[in-house]
């Protein structure tokens, strides 16, 4: 001990050293790089996006001329945009609902011990782990207009005839169904994991007490366990909603927004207008329509975090 302490004692402690030993100063220095990075590359771009949306900025004419809310007015009057807005909500809620149902059901299955459960869990997590862009390409191949394995199976089973085989990504309604199914497929493993984490955190004696008091399977599940795991399910759902509502990769790769804008969602249209066409101001205005939803989600998240601390 002595030989460690001695060199420190003999050296004259510098003022620098003294400052660094103050808890709040070092704490501030430690957190500064992260805050700075986030302010510079999330905060500033966000403000920039807001300014773009009320200016006439395009990549061909990078003027900062202020035009007020006219970009938003033009966008709202565009029927394509209104369709996009509806698509985004449909895409989000349908895929989250489907994902939650599949997730709850899958969690019930995985709760019971059986041989090979670890392997099954490892396989079931795959859709969520693997980069969604790569999985989307695999689905695109499965939905192929000519070589679709789904159509082949249905024809082989005699459900449909080759002449009436559906063109999954070419029909507006089926294309929407496809992007919803792929997104639900991607998120339900996450829902399973969240449900499992929640259910296993419910103390066994609570469940035992309910059983002794005569609660059956459904009652235990929906009146005891579900309310207790609600907070964690809410966090999972918030993640799901945010990442679905603002997603563009599934739509971009599977349908490219088509056919005829039938699957266009907010993120995708913002990309098309702002990046592909170079109309930055209108693109930014389209993207900003995500804000109200994000705002509600953030409020939900904050309420959850506060409740957890009480």
């Amino acid at each position: 001990m002595v030989d460690i302490a001695e060199p420190v004692a003999t050296r004259q402690p510098s003022r620098f050293r003294f400052i660094l030993d103050r808890r709040e100063v070092l704490g501030g220095l430690f957190v500064a790089p992260a805050i700075l990075y986030v302010l510079l590359l999330v905060g500033a771009p966000f403000l920039l996006a807001v300014y773009y949306s009320i200016s006439a900025y395009t990549i061909y004419d990078p003027s900062w001329r202020f035009v007020g809310l006219s970009n938003f007015r033009q966008i709202i009057q565009n029927p394509v945009f209104l369709g996009t807005l509806g698509n985004t909500f449909l895409f989000t809620f349908a895929s989250q609902l489907l994902g939650l149902i599949l997730g709850k059901f899958g969690a019930l299955l995985l709760l019971r011990p059986f041989p090979g459960r670890k392997i099954v869990r490892a396989v079931i997590i795959l859709p969520w782990a693997v980069p969604i862009a790569l999985a989307s390409v695999a689905w695109e191949w499965m939905f192929d207009s000519l070589y679709s394995v789904i159509n082949w199976t249905m024809i082989a089973l005699g459900i449909i005839d080759r002449s009436e085989a559906p063109n999954w990504l070419g029909n507006p309604h089926l294309a929407m169904l496809c992007v919803i199914v792929v997104n639900a497929w991607r998120f339900f493993p996450f829902a399973i994991v969240v449900f499992l984490a929640g259910i296993t955190s419910v103390p066994q004696d609570v469940i035992d007490a309910a059983t002794v008091d005569g609660a059956g399977f459904w009652r235990r599940n929906y009146q005891i366990i579900l309310p207790m795991i609600m907070p964690i399910v809410a966090v999972g759902l918030i993640f799901g909603i945010v990442f679905t509502f603002t997603d563009l990769s599934i739509v971009y790769l599977l349908t490219n927004g088509g056919p005829i804008n039938a699957t266009s969602v907010l993120g995708f249209q913002g990309f098309q207008v702002g990046i592909v066409s170079g109309d930055v101001s209108h693109g930014a205005a389209i993207s900003l329509f995500m804000l109200p939803v994000l705002f509600f989600v953030v409020i939900g998240m904050l309420r959850f975090i506060r409740r957890r601390e009480i």
Partner: protein, 281 residues
């Protein structure tokens, strides 16, 4: 007798449901594998049974992928981007997580939540201004733009993850180090970092997988093939005009998927407790 029948019926339906889930999740990956190993005449014949080989399997697609495309370049790009982002993220998130957990009290709590909420700001809201900023920095169409931009979501994520870990660590360890003559900074470097290696490893793995999974920023900033990371390259670059090289695409997708799948399975529990803020113990 009746009970035996209902019991076995229940077992059968249980395993049937499990099997259904496994098929639902695993089939696209099986489909990648079988497509990548089939010869082209086998692949593009609608009368063939698609689930199995009708002709001898071949490694032709893999050979083409590695020799005739930029696939190895994309792998290298992803590796470089991933490692640089990991370095930046750790340098910022490790001290930040520690500071927010230990040094800044109640305001640290609020600041931590604030940083975490920025993880929820979506790329599709920021890609327009960021693409302008990237262009101003002279990084347009270069993979280094991703090194600059990816920490915007990996730093918040890892700060939150590490903050939860540091909170769970006993304070007595640092106090003992300080009593023994360590400075506050010394206690962090000599005691806290070595003791939190498992958490740091988790942060490294998830930062790396997050960079592999990212698609939107890469799509927005990079258009020349040689600069693409692997996810973007495989998904968008193996198409000539209208012709999709399905065998090669599926081979590339499979190769890129495997490391992420393994990483997730090994570190899943930490990930869940990370994003739910330690609500589950």
């Amino acid at each position: 007798m009746l009970r035996v029948i209902t019991n076995s019926l229940r077992e059968v339906s249980f395993y049937g449901a499990v099997a259904l889930f496994v098929v639902l999740t695993a089939f696209p990956f099986y489909w990648m594998l079988i497509t990548s190993l089939k010869s082209n005449p086998d692949l593009y014949n609608v009368t063939n049974i698609p689930f199995w080989f009708n002709e001898a399997p071949t490694l032709e697609h893999y050979r083409y992928l590695f020799e005739q495309t930029l696939f190895t370049r994309w792998l290298l790009n992803s590796l470089i981007v991933g490692l640089c982002v990991v370095a930046i993220t750790l340098a910022a998130a490790l001290p930040a997580g520690y500071s927010l957990a230990r040094m800044t009290g109640r305001s640290g709590e609020a600041l931590g939540i604030g940083i975490f909420l920025t993880y929820l700001v979506p790329p599709t809201l920021l890609f327009l201004p960021l693409s302008r900023i990237v262009a101003t920095l002279g990084l347009q169409n270069s993979m280094w733009s991703l090194v600059v931009v990816y920490p915007t979501f990996t730093i918040p994520f890892c700060t939150w993850l590490l903050m939860g870990f540091f909170k769970a660590m006993p304070v007595e360890i640092e106090e003992a180090a300080i009593v023994d003559g360590c400075s506050l900074f010394g206690a962090f470097v000599r005691m806290v970092i070595p003791l939190s290696l498992p958490a740091i490893l988790t942060a490294i793995i998830f930062t790396f997988t997050l960079t592999l999974q990212e698609f939107v920023y890469a799509l927005t900033f990079i258009s020349s093939s040689a600069q693409k990371p692997i996810t973007l390259g495989v998904a968008t670059d193996l198409v000539r005009g209208d012709i999709f090289f399905w065998g090669e695409i599926m081979a590339g997708a499979l190769i890129a998927s495997i490391p992420v799948a393994i990483a997730y399975n090994l570190f899943l529990d930490r990930f869940i407790s990370g994003i739910t803020g330690g609500a589950v113990k």
